[in-house]
């Protein structure tokens, strides 16, 4: 058996009685990026939610550093940063408040928030309530939340959604920095991420 940091073996998920994917195995090491591709409905989001233990797993196992994540859910969750198709930001709070809050909800102190605001070109927007931002600006804020989290595994669902070219460049820079520092990431995406060292897993093929 291949042993990376994250090992997924024979994973199967059902949704509404329908099998979304079956006997899916892959492993991910430090500094690796896995792009999930596949048509609409091929199970990219379901796989990400299953990896985060948000969706039930039918059979198979997920191991992190050799131990089953279902055994110690909170430890596994502590490793994860999540970007769903919803941004997970509070409209009535400012961008900075949202980022600080997300850190504190994970038990952190808010270190690195200032730096990530700069990476995603959000300094000028930091004091604005999120509800006044455009979709792309919100997506950037949500990505900044992920980047500031100091988690080792990033799970990203369509991270390029609504991003303009500078936003995409900022995401690539943040991802590259995360991978270079030994982190890993799994991203469901339609558009190619164009990242060096990225592997691709096509679902529903």
């Amino acid at each position: 058996m291949v042993t990376g940091l994250l090992d997924v073996t024979e994973l199967a998920c059902r949704r509404g009685g329908r099998r979304v994917f079956d006997r899916l195995s892959f492993s991910l090491g430090a500094g690796e990026l896995l792009a999930l591709t596949g048509r609409n409905g091929s199970g990219k989001t379901t796989l990400l939610r299953a990896l985060a233990l948000l969706a039930p797993i039918d059979s198979g196992a997920i191991h992190w550093q050799g131990s089953d994540v279902a055994m110690d859910r909170e430890r596994w969750r502590g490793q994860l940063a999540w970007l769903g198709h919803l941004d997970g930001l509070k409209g009535d709070l400012t961008v900075r408040e949202n980022l600080l809050l997300a850190q504190r909800l994970r038990g952190g102190h808010g270190d690195g928030v200032a730096a990530t605001l700069a990476t995603f070109d959000l300094v000028a927007l930091a004091a604005r309530p999120v509800r006044t931002l455009s979709a792309g600006q919100r997506r950037r804020s949500a990505l900044a939340r992920v980047a500031a989290s100091a988690a080792s595994v990033w799970l990203l669902d369509e991270p390029l959604n609504a991003l303009d070219m500078p936003g995409q460049a900022a995401l690539r820079a943040a991802l590259a920095g995360h991978l270079a520092s030994g982190g890993s990431a799994i991203a469901a995406t339609h558009a190619p991420l164009d990242m060096a060292g990225g592997r691709t897993l096509e679902l529903g093929a």
């Binding site: 969706a55 039930p56 769903g84 997970g88 009535d92 709070l93 909800l105």
Partner: protein
């Protein structure tokens, strides 16, 4: 614990940013209670007799009014996923949200109720009993309502369903809350009733966050 405090503060801050939501709850409480003197008539002895029941019922409805947004807003903007993924127990997150809900609805209701009670002609001791029983009883309402809110998450017309689910379970609190004022009027104290309300609140506190966490995980799937 740090996460608990962060979430509790966040919900208070969100309520502070939207003072209208709290104002609507309190305004509903005032309007609903004033309807009774208008419909029943201004006989002082009748009003004093029904005051406890009217105020308690109105407080119950008012606190349910804001509950359908308790988890729904987090569900809609994706924040619920972040709570589900937080590396600390979801039970504590549910408790933090109910605690914040109580601060912005139950507590103001308990403060406001004696003013309305005075208008109904209740004496000073009864007003004290009213405020005390509401302060001790409304946490139970927030917790029961929180469970109903988590169970109806994602349902259409969740507000009506929530009330239908929560109201029957609020009956014990309502009975002991309202009858405390009657026993005070008749000269007995309300300490026993207060103790029973506190017991109901503690039982809810010890059990309902677990049920809420289960319901929220289901909704997250």
């Amino acid at each position: 614990m740090k996460g608990f405090i962060a979430l509790f503060q966040r919900d208070l801050r969100l309520a502070w940013r939207r003072p209208g939501d709290v104002a609507v709850v309190l305004a509903f409480f005032v309007v609903a209670t004033t309807l009774f003197p208008l419909s029943i008539g201004p006989e002082a002895n009748v009003l004093a007799r029904i005051a406890a029941g009217v105020l308690w019922c109105a407080a119950l409805f008012a606190s349910l009014l804001s509950l359908d947004r308790l988890f729904a807003s987090d569900h809609e903007d994706g924040s619920l996923d972040l709570l589900l993924l937080a590396p600390w127990p979801l039970e504590l997150a549910a408790l933090a949200k109910c605690a914040a809900h109580w601060i912005v609805s139950g507590l103001p209701l308990a403060v406001l109720a004696p003013l309305l009670g005075a208008a109904f002609g209740l004496d000073a001791r009864s007003l004290l009993a009213l405020a005390a029983t509401l302060a001790v009883g409304t946490p139970t309402l927030s917790l029961i309502g929180g469970l109903a809110a988590s169970l109806t998450l994602g349902a259409r017309k969740s507000g009506a369903l929530l009330a239908l689910l929560a109201l029957p379970f609020c009956i014990p609190t309502l009975i002991f809350g309202a009858s405390a004022i009657e026993t005070t009027v008749s000269g007995e104290g309300f300490a026993t009733h207060l103790a029973i309300l506190a017991a109901l609140a503690l039982v809810s506190l010890a059990t309902l966050p677990w049920a809420m966490a289960v319901a929220l995980r289901q909704a997250g799937e």
